[in-house]
Symmetry: C2
Subunit: 349 residues, 2 copies
């Protein structure tokens, strides 16, 4: 009846090109702090859960990278997916693997590329959710109090009928809403951002998969019975998120109010917001020189970035690619990635 | 009584950092066209003057670079100055070297880093100036018809008493004027930009040096008598431009109206003006991707430059340094160079 950690590290992170590359996506970057996002995610949970109880699900191309980042993690606890099929298959595969060892276990699922500032508070919440999951079962998520009407996130509505003031029953999930709806939800005070972090008993989750996604359940069982079938079976699994495929459908879904300084660091603009600024509102990660410039964020993994008489820019520099964008356009980095693909410049991706 | 070419290639070109570096200044860059500015300068004159009659004056650190750029030039015709002392010492040293071989010669002096679009016209003007210099002596310069009140150039006033309509006697030189004066001069129609290109008989020039800069004359003679004295004598020579030290003082100074598509390509802004633009007024030298961007000039010697939602920028990218500037601030690149010096980042210069 142990506690288990599952880290989802399969992302491609195209919105962080050119810092991230196809073979070096966001979870392996040190965007915030000195360690990779993946390693920071693991280290954050270490006082609660040791390496022996930690699993990482990633793309098969990234298994080596995960080993490098987490050299003390037993290698058979790194699950390499032949293709990405969204989070439901990833978590089901990990849960099924854990269930072989500890069917009574409780697991916490964490994305590998989020930032959390109030770590002690976060650990306390995870402990609490895991205790409750052990005692009374059910599914738990961590709800971030929204501070702006973000349209790129999912939202969670609480119904106010939870066991105590900060653990509430979930009324419903709302996928990335249009701006007007997002504004109304933020104003109502009844909605949280869906952080994508979850806690539940391993067997209760696998039973829910069996109920709500029987194809997925059968596929995972087939892979378990014959691991050599992975490359054939995995690509056929239903491509669906755990929220949409499972959690929206279970009866006992709870949300813990999580005031933990969370940020998914989803774009360069988000990263820019997290960096300390000087008097002219310039910020640098890496070596930068600012002359008469204002509100410029320079992010470099090597080249010195110099700015003269410019403002309101995010500049990202590597030895072979430079990106300059208006902070409001950080979501559109994929357009450049697409253009480079179409121009047959895949070596830059 | 041959024709001789002297190319001045001693510049440091800090305004082109980071494309130019201390060991790779502007004259060795291919800013326009596919060859270095130096090689383009030599090639432009080749139908008139062969390598056997071409001299290059440069910094002693750049002699190897000149050899690489002009492999067919006899190496003893590359003069390496131990320190830069402005143009009067450079030209006097070259003239003195030529006078040893051909005291009756006529020489044309060209900066190594200017662009000329109408090459045939230019050659015709140089031929004409050299013929006149041979026939009747005198000093000749090429006057560029100004198209804006540039404050960074010198100006030449014609007095309208020249031998024919497009060769005029020079009334006076005006050093970099304040804007108001520049505007008045451009409007008057009597002023040309001083292109820094000159033609004169070798001996007449050396006599003028003897008259107007006797210290320089003696120093050059000392170096000629004992070449080992170069490192000791050269740094003591008067640091003065040929315009100010000699040409402003000679009686028979002429200017040829030169409508030759000239540009000194003095800054990134000047280079930006020379590049072809797309419908959104973006221009690239090197690999660039523009998304919803306008009036952006991307100059790269390697990295791909991508821009999203930005405008009115000049971006310069190399593998170890990136510069982003407002086009109006191109003169201020030296501020960044200075900041890097002060920050002990000389390896980037």
């Amino acid at each position: 009846m142990a506690r288990w950690l599952v880290i989802l590290a399969g992302g491609r992170g195209e919105r962080f090109w050119p810092l991230s590359r196809m073979m070096h996506p966001k979870q392996f970057l040190s965007l915030v702090g000195s360690e990779s996002m993946l390693r920071t995610t693991r280290d954050r949970m270490r006082p609660l859960i040791d390496d022996g109880h930690t699993w990482v699900v990633t793309g098969c191309d990234y298994v080596g990278k995960v080993k490098e980042n987490l050299p003390t993690l037993p290698v058979d606890q790194i699950l390499g997916e032949p293709v990405g099929r969204n989070t439901a298959p990833s978590i089901a595969w990990a849960a099924s693997s854990i269930a072989q060892i500890d069917p009574e276990g409780v697991m916490v699922v964490l994305p590998s590329d989020h930032m959390i500032q109030h770590i002690d508070k976060f650990r306390q919440l995870v402990s609490e959710a895991m205790e409750q999951a052990q005692e009374r079962g059910g599914f738990y998520t961590f709800g971030i109090v929204p501070n702006h009407p973000e349209t790129g996130y999912g939202y969670i509505e609480q119904d106010g009928a939870g066991p105590n003031f900060h653990v509430q029953r979930v009324a419903r999930f709302v996928e990335k809403p249009p701006l007007e709806q997002a504004e109304a939800m933020v104003q109502s005070g009844r909605y949280y951002w869906n952080s994508g972090m979850f806690v539940f008993p391993v067997m209760e989750f696998l039973e829910a998969v069996d109920t709500h996604l029987p194809d997925l359940s059968q596929g995972i069982q087939a892979i378990r019975q014959d691991p050599r079938s992975l490359d054939r079976v995995f690509p056929e699994l239903p491509q669906v998120s755990v929220d949409h495929g499972i959690l929206e459908k279970v009866a006992s879904m709870f949300v813990l109010r999580a005031d933990i300084g969370w940020d998914d660091v989803g774009t360069f603009a988000a990263l820019a917001r997290l960096l300390p600024r000087n008097d002219e509102m310039n910020a640098a990660r890496g070596h930068a020189v600012f002359v008469d410039s204002e509100n410029v964020t320079a992010i470099s993994d090597g080249p010195v970035v110099s700015c003269i008489g410019v403002k309101d820019l995010v500049v990202v520099a590597t030895h072979d690619a430079v990106l300059i964008l208006s902070p409001g356009r950080a979501q559109d980095v994929r357009q450049v990635v697409q253009a480079l693909k179409e121009g047959r410049h895949e070596h830059l991706l």
